[in-house]
């Protein structure tokens, strides 16, 4: 019975990623908790995925405050085209 509760790093990674999107079952939670208690590798992996999520959500908030590289701005011809379309529609 105990053997069934031992999961591999691959399964642990799947469960830790899915825990951000759905509620794990009680059994899955227990399996993941037990695995993380003994596996430093998966703890690092878990922390990395959490960092990735934090960085991504902060980016959404600050993207417009960053000094953008030139390729992240509208080109002058595009601006002119949009202005002309707006003026035509006003």
């Amino acid at each position: 019975m105990k053997q069934k509760n031992i999961i591999s790093c691959k399964v642990a990674a799947k469960l830790m990623c899915q825990s951000f999107d759905r509620k794990l079952t009680a059994r899955e939670q227990m399996q993941l908790k037990a695995h993380l208690a003994i596996c430093k590798t998966c703890v690092y992996c878990y922390k990395q995925v959490r960092t990735l999520r934090k960085v991504y959500s902060q980016y959404a908030q600050i993207i417009t405050q960053l000094t953008p590289p030139a390729e992240c701005c509208l080109s002058q011809p595009s601006k002119q085209k949009m202005k002309a379309l707006l003026l035509e529609a006003i």
Binding site: A13, Q48, L52, Y59, I63, P68, K83, L86
Partner: protein, 199 residues
Amino acid sequence: MKSPKSPQKKNAASSPDQWVDLHGNYLYRFALSRLRNRELAENAVQETLLSALTARKKFCGRSSERTWLIGILKHKIIDHYRKKYREISVTDLVPEDQDAVESFYDVAGKPNKYPSEWEADPRQLSSNNEFWRILEDCLKKLPKATADAFSMREMDKIDTKEICKILGISATNLWVMLHRARLQLRGCLENNWFEKKAA
């Protein structure tokens, strides 16, 4: 003495012919970060401004003009996803090929490469343009639908049920897509950013 029920200050609306100069680049960067394609981002901005023009009488100044425009742009981006994925079958959206994630593990499910400890402040990373170029490259290596799902979920915090509706897939399919996206991006960033910075 301040009146306890003083009316909320309204945000002023600018003339539509100033919108491109005032908000164009801001809206474009917002769209580009979601759509990852210059042409699509430009189209989304253009459609947003034209829709805003039609609806400008509804803008009552409770939020800033820019926030109002971003609200319209968000809808345009979601509409784009809906149209894009309407005709695509689930098997194409969630490919059976799992090589990218499978290659991280041996047959016993142990990782082939051990992850390092990332010593990074998320706030500093998120304001680093060079880091974003690497992450954008990593996102481009994902199947398009997987990258879009990841972006909707992690950038705009859209509920999983809503993403399933937009992509026309089941919750189980979405969980698989997001799980693969996170692991692939983690691996890609480890190889292309954190290990290089540590070296």
